[in-house]
Symmetry: C2
Subunit: 301 residues, 2 copies
């Protein structure tokens, strides 16, 4: 019996990504001795061509986006990245070159974020390319940033800038002028792992209601220009998603510590509002009145 | 901003499956305190409609098959099942009833195998339904059954019966007469978790070459009948896959212990050949000559 072609494909493209626990990707499962005394943090996200990325996005960035979307989940919990498992459903007829570029992007981000591939599965699909990744990280027991604990009066902070991802998608699909910065932010989000680690014990994740000052939301220069040209883009900027920034709560008395943590992590953070009693998020426009936002654009059911 | 519809869908169908570490599936990631002093065992498998299951397979068994395919990876390593993460890409227009049946099947198998859902992702696809599952289990350090260590002269054992899965697919697609047993074995494989646990320290997983006696391979009564009616089915039975049985090596002097372990686990095991020097698996037909088998049917690249 000859070995199935998957084995050759996996050996060629994914074996170089495998860590020691991956057992050469030749066993039925991987082995991992978890860091003693730490709590594991686990998340899994899937991406489908035509839904979560564009079918003609470069393969070099696709694997990295998949990894970074999952890394942003670890960042939101204040966890140290550890390893990942990945399943890939490639369209029939995918080329070796395409897979090599996909794996090459993963190799870059493995080095950048200090993680390794433990295992997974490679299958074929008659539909769009579909990828799923499970990421493992770890935190000190009880130290994970949870979506609970924000108190009325806490300030709402956000990392980086908001709206670039959604505007990048518009720019890449001809609905906004081409823009390298916006396209890059859509294709290659920046998970705020380092900031998340420094916020553990300081920030509280969102959980109660909040009021956001639209004018305070940090925008990149290209996003500001797009909004100036078309003010109707505001809801898309605020709720379009694809930014993978951290939103968190901190007591007003801790603002200096938040800014210091952000400076250490090399990430900008901005106060954009305040937590209030109740549920839900209100957005106050520059005129002092609440902005009516449509339901989030990423609901598909 | 209203909550996206995914949240309602997840709360309705998947929240009842979530364990304590899943944090109500409302956080960015799950938390898990791994069993102290144990090595984690991790595997991830994906399934695509039309490739790994039939698009009209009942949703009640699909989630269970997904879980069981992954559980069989744990069984092959001799690991205790612990928890899982799952991503589901449902075709646009999937009904709440379909998802409820899918989740209901998972609930049955969670109870049967003592595991719980930690987290995951629910997305929509314009292609075939695509599911990915990452399973976590644990073993004592150094005790995992590895695909190394089989020695020349070791006996080749297999659990259960072989070929039912492949024949079940034929029966379900009109290429063999309808057969409830075969169809059930295709749709609902039986991971040999209990047997795998009892083989730790006794069995060695395959790794060197082997010669298999075709006549010794255990077949179910329906498979024997199908083979008698059409001897050309032999290669399909031997290499068609979808059985998820355990194949392992043990020293001839340990055969009584293997049989005792199997009796405790309530699983039949059968000696089907012997490990020999070299690489690859030869299959010897009833006439004493090697059978030429085609490449495995599950290569898609």
């Amino acid at each position: 019996m000859t070995l199935p072609a998957e084995f050759g494909l996996i050996a060629r493209h994914f074996l170089p990504l495998a860590g020691q626990g991956g057992l050469g990707l030749g066993d039925d499962a991987a082995l991992l001795d978890p860091p003693p005394g730490r709590t594991l943090v686990l998340a899994a996200d899937a991406m489908v061509a035509g839904v979560h990325f564009l079918a003609d996005d470069p393969p070099e960035t696709l694997g990295r986006k998949l990894l970074r979307v999952n890394l942003s989940d670890l960042a939101a919990m204040g966890a140290v990245p550890l390893a990942y498992l990945m399943t890939t459903a490639f369209p029939r007829g995918v080329t070796q070159e395409w897979i090599a570029a996909f794996a090459g992007g993963l190799a870059l981000d493995q080095a950048e974020f200090g993680i390794e591939l433990l295992g997974g599965d490679t299958v074929v699909t008659d539909g769009p390319a579909t990828f799923s990744l499970t990421i493992l990280g770890h935190v000190a027991p009880g130290a994970a940033l949870r979506r609970v604990g924000a108190r009325v009066g806490d300030e709402v902070w956000v990392s980086g800038s908001i709206g670039d991802g959604a505007l990048g998608l518009l720019a890449l699909t001809g609905r906004l002028p081409e823009d390298l910065h916006l396209a890059s932010r859509y294709r290659l989000p920046q998970p705020r792992v380092s900031l998340g680690l420094r916020l553990a014990g300081l920030a509280r994740a969102a959980g109660c209601g909040a009021v956001i000052e639209a004018a305070a939301v940090p925008l990149s220069a290209p996003a500001r220009a797009a909004l100036a040209a078309n003010p109707a883009l505001l809801p898309r900027i605020l709720t379009g998603g694809d930014d993978y920034e951290l939103v968190f709560a901190a007591a007003p008395t801790d603002s200096a510590r938040v800014l210091a943590a952000a400076a250490e992590a090399g990430v900008a953070v901005t106060r954009i509002g305040v937590f209030e009693a109740g549920q839900g998020v209100r957005v106050r426009g520059p005129d002092g009145h609440d902005v009516t936002l449509p339901s989030s654009g990423w609901s598909h059911f």
